[in-house]
């Protein structure tokens, strides 16, 4: 009973946070505010879905913020040069896929630690975005592109629909496909997976490619929200995405993580920053609060696991 309660802790935190904010400020529970929270968190959330997959394998992807920028930039440039909007969105997603593929290939073929590879590409992709754009944002995009980031479908923000679809797909991948199963196996014990005949390199490469692809999609949504292709977009988003996964129960040593957990984690971060905005909390303190929440979440999780792991010897 206690254990189940502790596992539900992130979810309960989210609920409590939601009600606390509803009581604390009349501006919270309004359609406009909630839609704005949804739009803000959708971008991070979509990246965090890819990050969940990566973290389950025991890896990390620090480059997703830079991929977001480079994908958004290429997509925006495509639109500006007359590409139809759906095609431009695919350009952005494809660009993310390519960047992720490069990450995955370097990790598996050169056997470099994912932290190092993606730390390198965090810099390199950002640099490429700046080189291509000469450091200038891409403006003058047709208004119709704003639908992706700011539009509504059936009264719900369009980006939330995109998130929902991605989340369902990712959940299916994790729980019901070989790729997901192998991701858990690799993260839990890559040697055992190798000994079982699992093609590790192929699946790891696919995992980073998917994370890149989702970052590319997030980049198009971000570009649509800003109505510019910004080479400096998404700085620090990778850390927020990692935080969302970790708050939601993902373990940086691999083998653990879930879509539901990550969604909850991202919404907790989203509500915390929205709530402190509404309550007029100093934005500098916001950072302190979010940092504390990340550490507290992991500390609780560790305590829970320690209790579980005490077995008789």
């Amino acid at each position: 009973m206690m254990q189940r309660l502790q596992r539900l802790l992130p979810f309960l935190t989210l609920i409590v946070l939601f009600f606390a904010l509803t009581i604390a400020t009349p501006h919270f529970l309004t359609a406009i505010n909630l839609a704005s929270v949804a739009r803000q968190t959708a971008v991070i959330n979509i990246m965090a879905l890819g990050m969940t997959l990566v973290i389950i394998t025991g890896g990390i992807d620090l480059s997703v913020g830079s991929i977001l920028a480079i994908a958004g930039l290429f997509g925006a440039m495509g639109i500006k040069h007359g590409l139809p909007i759906p095609a431009a969105i695919f350009v952005g997603i494809g660009c993310g896929l390519l960047c992720g593929l490069v990450n995955g290939l370097m990790i598996t073929q050169f056997r470099i630690n994912p932290f190092i590879v993606t730390l390198g590409t965090l810099e390199a992709y950002r640099g490429l975005a700046l080189v291509v754009s000469k450091g200038l944002p891409v403006h003058e995009i047709p208004d119709s592109f704003s639908f992706l980031g700011d539009g509504n479908l059936l009264g719900v923000p369009f980006s939330l629909w995109v998130l929902a679809i991605c989340a369902v797909l990712m959940h299916l991948v994790l729980e019901h496909t070989k790729l997901g199963r192998y991701a858990f196996a690799i993260g839990s014990n890559s040697a055992a997976a190798y000994y079982a005949g699992v093609p590790i390199n192929f699946h790891l490469t696919a995992v980073y490619a998917i994370a890149g692809m989702l970052a590319g999609l997030a980049g198009m949504i971000e570009a649509s929200r800003l109505m510019t292709g910004q080479p400096t977009a998404g700085q620090g988003y990778e850390l927020q995405a990692i935080a969302a996964v970790v708050i939601g129960g993902g373990s940086l040593v691999g083998g653990e993580g879930s879509v539901v957990g990550t969604l909850i984690g991202a919404f907790i971060i989203g509500l915390l920053s929205n709530g402190s905005d509404l309550l007029g909390v100093n934005p500098y303190w916001q950072q302190v609060i979010i940092g504390a929440v990340i550490i507290a979440a992991v500390a609780f999780d560790e305590l829970r696991k320690r209790k579980l792991s005490v077995s008789r010897a």
Partner: protein
């Protein structure tokens, strides 16, 4: 009486690990502590060493009631534990490890390396060990690491040392070295509590034995008064046919042929495994037995030579190709190479063959559950549900999961590398029964074992390796002495005692 425990109890989150722990240890005796996995041996010892606090019961140390909240309190009283997995700092030197936490207060935070090395050298020399105080611990063998732990305990002036399965990762000669040390300690009036699984070790070392079963002490006696069968019966709680003998089977056609394979230390290895037979592979540590399994399983492709499955040459560069050819490896290091401990039993069983439970690219959880249930029953894996995490099961049950996943994959050639390492007596029998069953169903089995009695009991014929070569083949019902004769690096003259032949000094 040095140490006396009465009615000690300990629970972890509702699970009673220890119901009624009783133990009495005299000064200078070697006291064996035996029992199956989960019987509560380690829990009891961790209470003595101050790593756990007992929930109830009494502990007397030199006649005084004591209760330790921390290992430091126990070691201050002279109780130290030598752990199964070494608890040393690998990047520090031997000397630094010996005095870690006891560097001496007078130095005021500064560590005088020369002085510490000198002090360590004195401790090492006093015990007749061969160790250089300045070596980094990471570069030592498992046996060397245990020596360091023993030195640490002695340097702290311990009068009771607890050894938790010290020989489970050691070679024959290292094992003998540990025995020598234990006897040496005992001659200096230091008491030793020795936890072990290996029945073979008993008489070489112990005076008295205490047996635990299901968290309670069931028997204490002088070793002289007990037969091997008595011991097993006390441990398991029912009589077990300790001497497992496989009925020899008519063998079928050759399934696996290894022809002139060389790689690393392996020199021109040739062997064949036939349907329906269990072939033992004996030899000393470092003879190349595990290396041979790795080559056959595609972990290290051969530099020279050919491996054939059912007559067709396979050229595996990864285990994936070997697995596709029907080869399975039950690795020596089960926890690191055989299982994903954080994943459910069912996921471990289906890992090599997800296609079997998928349709249209999606995994079918009902098919997976059915398959897992089927193999749980077939291999008698004791668990509450197949959704339980593999890491929560005992060693024997974990080994059965590893076997199950290959049987589910439809493997035909099984390489068992030390299949009984770290599992208890009853589970060993079950593993042998499974091997027998597989062979009856037409599988070809290679069994690597350092436990000579097991080889003699289970194998239909035995190949012996020495220094990377196969030095001979023996019939299944051979003697341990015959195996040792082929396993020793230089062939001894006839007339040497069996003991001398079994003791090649390779240190």
């Amino acid at each position: 009486m040095l140490l006396s425990l009465q009615g000690v109890q300990k629970s972890f989150g509702g699970v009673k690990a220890l119901r009624d722990g009783n133990l009495e240890v005299c000064e200078g005796e070697v006291h064996l502590l035996m029992g199956e996995n989960g019987a509560g041996k380690s829990t009891l010892m961790k209470i003595v060493a101050g790593m756990f606090r007992r929930d109830a019961g009494q502990m007397l140390w030199r006649g005084q009631p004591v209760s330790f909240a921390r290992p430091a309190e126990a070691s201050a009283q002279g109780i130290a534990m030598v752990h199964q997995e070494s608890l040393l700092a690998p990047h520090l030197s031997v000397a630094e490890n010996i005095f870690l936490g006891h560097e001496g207060a007078s130095t005021g935070g500064w560590v005088n390396r020369g002085k510490i090395n000198e002090r360590a050298a004195r401790v090492i020399a006093a015990n007749g060990f061969r160790l250089d105080p300045a070596t980094r611990v990471a570069s030592l063998t498992p046996a060397g690491k245990q020596l360091v732990e023993i030195c640490r305990a002695i340097a702290q002036g311990s009068s009771l040392l607890i050894f938790d399965e010290p020989t489970s990762s050691l070679s024959e000669s290292e094992t003998r070295e540990v025995f020598r040390i234990v006897r040496e300690l005992c001659s200096r009036r230091i008491a030793v509590i020795y936890i072990t699984h290996r029945l073979e070790e008993l008489r070489a070392i112990g005076d008295r034995v205490t047996i635990l079963r299901d968290g309670a002490t069931v028997h204490t006696a002088h070793l002289k008064e007990l037969t091997r069968e008595d011991l097993i019966q006390h441990m398991v709680g029912r009589p077990v046919n300790a001497i497992y003998r496989r009925e020899p089977q008519p063998r079928g056609k050759a399934l696996l042929q290894v022809e002139n394979v060389s790689r690393g230390i392996l020199r021109e290895i040739s062997l064949s495994l036939h349907e329906g037979e269990i072939v033992g592979l004996g030899g000393l540590m470092g003879a190349g037995r595990t290396e041979l399994c790795r080559v056959i399983f595609g972990l290290d492709p051969p530099d020279k030579g050919v491996i054939r499955v059912a007559g067709r040459a396979i050229h595996s560069k990864t285990p994936r190709q070997a697995v596709a050819a029907g080869i399975a490896l039950i690795p020596e290091d089960r926890q690191n190479h055989g299982l994903a401990l954080k994943l459910p039993i069912a996921h471990n069983i289906t890992m090599p063959d997800l296609a079997r439970i998928s349709s249209l690219g999606f995994l079918r959880s009902n098919r997976e559950t059915n398959l897992a249930n089927e193999f749980r029953d077939r291999l008698r894996i004791r668990c509450s549900t197949p959704q339980q995490l593999a890491g929560r099961l005992s060693g024997g049950n974990q080994q059965k999961i590893v076997i199950a996943k290959w049987v589910a994959r439809g493997a035909r050639i099984f390489l068992f590398d030390e299949p009984t390492r770290g599992i208890d007596v009853a589970a060993k029998q079950e593993v042998f029964e499974q091997m027998d069953k597989l062979a009856r169903q037409g599988a070809a089995i290679l069994m690597v074992s350092s436990e000579l009695p097991e080889l003699v009991q289970v194998a239909d014929r035995i190949l012996v390796m020495c220094e990377g070569r196969i030095t001979g083949e023996l019939p299944g019902r051979t003697t341990q002495e015959e195996i040792m004769r082929l396993a020793a690096p230089s062939a001894p003259r006839p007339g040497d005692s069996a003991e001398a032949r079994a003791l090649p000094d390779r240190t």
